[in-house]
């Protein structure tokens, strides 16, 4: 009997595979391709207290082995979300993680409070979106701000909280420790790295917002290094992400210290990616005579 189930702050996931916020909507669109019942958890697109229209287009651009996005956290706001997206996800036997975004501490708290009595398993607090001026990145690059927002959210949250860290920092372990000190139950990393592309024919930015967040396989080595560093700096569980496209990629993150993994950009070119990762992890465990996935977490040191 293979045990693939992992525990995030008391929430037991049937397997460590989740979706990365913003790449999977609230699951409806991808449910045409994958059986959501087979995922450890679905992490929703970031949701704010009120609807956000997001940035002008073009919002994305392709780069070598990756992509830039500056969606700007377009979202319908917590009211529509609670009415439409949570009931949709409740139909499935998977954990529900709501990604929360805001422009001020009050914004975050409003969403967190509105979710208190909803059937949501974990809250992921996005303090690292590089695409909205006030979209959290300011919080995510200063350890004092990280600790303060974590504390404020933790005080109101009914569910365990995941703090989502920005990779656009000198030392990710400082931010991780600040979040841990503030009471974070889980950390997730990495959000996107700020990047740019220029259209040399038109001599303008490829993305209307000028800069966008880099994601996809191109960033995997950076993400893996940060997950390894953080795993060796804090004692709370980590959700690893950044360029994971295959089971092999996911296992690298688990060996480096991630308890769970999220699949983001890979969904765009392989809508079956999440399920393939679930299956590939089992194959790997069999090949390596590993009965419990928890025995793999963080063993490469």
């Amino acid at each position: 009997m293979l045990n693939t189930s992992v525990n995030l702050a008391g929430v037991q996931l049937k397997n460590p595979v989740m979706t990365a916020s913003g790449t999977f909507g609230s699951g409806a669109e991808y449910s045409e391709f994958v059986d959501l019942n087979q995922l450890g958890a679905v992490v929703t697109k970031g949701v704010a207290n009120i609807p956000w229209p997001g940035n002008p287009t073009p919002r994305i651009a392709e780069t070598t082995g990756g992509m830039l996005n500056a969606i700007g956290l377009q979202n319908p706001g917590i009211d529509v979300f609670v009415k439409r997206d949570i009931p949709f996800l409740k139909q499935y036997d998977t954990k529900i993680i709501v990604n929360v975004c805001g422009k001020s501490t009050e914004d975050y708290l409003e969403v967190v409070e509105r979710l208190a009595d909803e059937p949501v398993d974990l809250l992921e607090i996005n303090i690292s979106c590089p695409n909205v001026k006030e979209g959290g990145i300011a919080f995510g690059q200063d350890p004092k701000a990280v600790e303060a927002i974590t504390k404020a959210v933790k005080a109101k949250a009914k569910q365990p909280i995941i703090m989502k860290l920005s990779p656009n920092v000198t030392d990710i372990t400082v931010m991780a420790k600040a979040a841990e000190a503030g009471g974070a139950d889980v950390l997730s990393l990495i959000n996107t790295l700020t990047g740019m592309k220029i259209d040399i024919q038109r001599q303008c930015f490829a993305i209307a917002n000028k800069t966008g967040g880099l994601s996809g396989p191109a960033v995997k080595p950076i993400a893996l290094r940060m997950v390894y560093q953080v795993a060796n700096a804090v004692s709370i569980p980590i959700i690893g992400m950044g360029g994971i496209a295959t089971a092999e990629d996911a296992i690298e993150f688990i060996l480096a210290g991630a308890t769970a993994v999220s699949i983001g950009t890979a969904n765009f070119y392989n809508p079956y990616a999440t399920i393939e990762v679930v299956e590939g992890i089992e194959t790997y465990m069999k090949q390596h005579n590993c009965e419990d996935i928890n025995q793999l977490i963080g063993i490469v040191k």
Partner: protein, 253 residues
């Protein structure tokens, strides 16, 4: 409508003009579900290029689709090297497609907006006039339209038909219709939206934007809409999911 990602097989590759190619593709499931005005996402075989190339359906048969595409970058360049028998990763059918109305129609295509009009011409049962705008005398696909109605041509360089754009061709030929279906560059669509308004015609246009997911999940491909959109309630319709075909008055160009 179900969507699939599948490994399809190239049946034929044909060069139609200097930079325009046509491919027939055998699909096991996509063709069955597809309607005119929809598109497919095509993936390159290069691991460095992750995002889909959205390409409209030019023709749809029982288990085959035809795409006609212009080489504009590395992805379309790669597609042009595929030969019969090669495999190709595609996802589809995507988007909503054209509404088929029983009204005297203009089918208007500009440049690489011409291909999707062909399946529409085949599907629409009513009287129709095709107005096709080209750059020059390389009139790709023009003959393919002829069985389905009168074809009028505008060329930018004046080498064939009316010199100018599709509206110039409509004027020059004193054409009239009750409904417009159009695909092409934004300035053309903007002009047609205005034309339709002035002539109190229905008008459906097919839009383009950079895409990542192609199925409505990532919110990359939005356009400004007059009414709040159903998804986010912020006047942002998703071209890949709510479109690519919109009633002209529904969107801001």
């Amino acid at each position: 409508m179900a969507k699939y990602k599948e490994t399809a097989i190239v049946l034929s590759q044909e060069q139609l003009s200097e930079d325009i190619f046509s491919m027939w593709i055998q699909t096991s499931r996509i063709a069955k579900e597809a309607v005119c005005g929809q598109f497919v996402s095509i993936y390159t075989k290069d691991g460095a290029k992750l995002l889909p190339r959205p390409i409209s359906l030019c023709e749809v048969e029982a288990d085959q689709i035809r795409i006609v595409y212009r080489i504009v970058g590395a992805g379309t360049k790669e597609f042009s090297t595929y030969q019969a028998g090669d495999s190709i990763e595609i996802m589809g059918p995507l988007g909503n497609g054209f509404p088929l109305k029983e009204k005297k129609a203009f089918l208007i295509g500009g440049g690489i907006g011409i291909p999707p009009m062909l399946q529409l011409a085949k599907s629409l049962k009513c009287e129709k006039q095709m107005v096709l705008g080209y750059r020059d005398a390389q009139l790709f696909l023009k003959e393919a339209f002829e069985p389905y109605g009168a074809v009028y041509v505008a060329t930018e360089d004046g080498s064939v038909g009316t010199k100018g754009n599709v509206i110039d061709a409509i004027m020059a030929n004193h054409l009239e219709a009750d409904i417009i279906y159009a695909c092409g560059p934004t300035p053309m669509l903007r002009a047609l939206k205005q034309y339709a308004k002035e002539h109190e015609m229905e008008c459906y246009i097919s839009l383009e934007e950079k895409m990542a997911c192609g199925i409505g999940a990532c919110l990359a491909c939005v356009c400004k809409s007059k009414e709040v959109d159903e998804h986010t309630h912020v006047h942002n319709k998703r071209i890949c999911k709510d479109g690519p075909v919109f009633a002209a008055e529904e969107v801001e160009l």
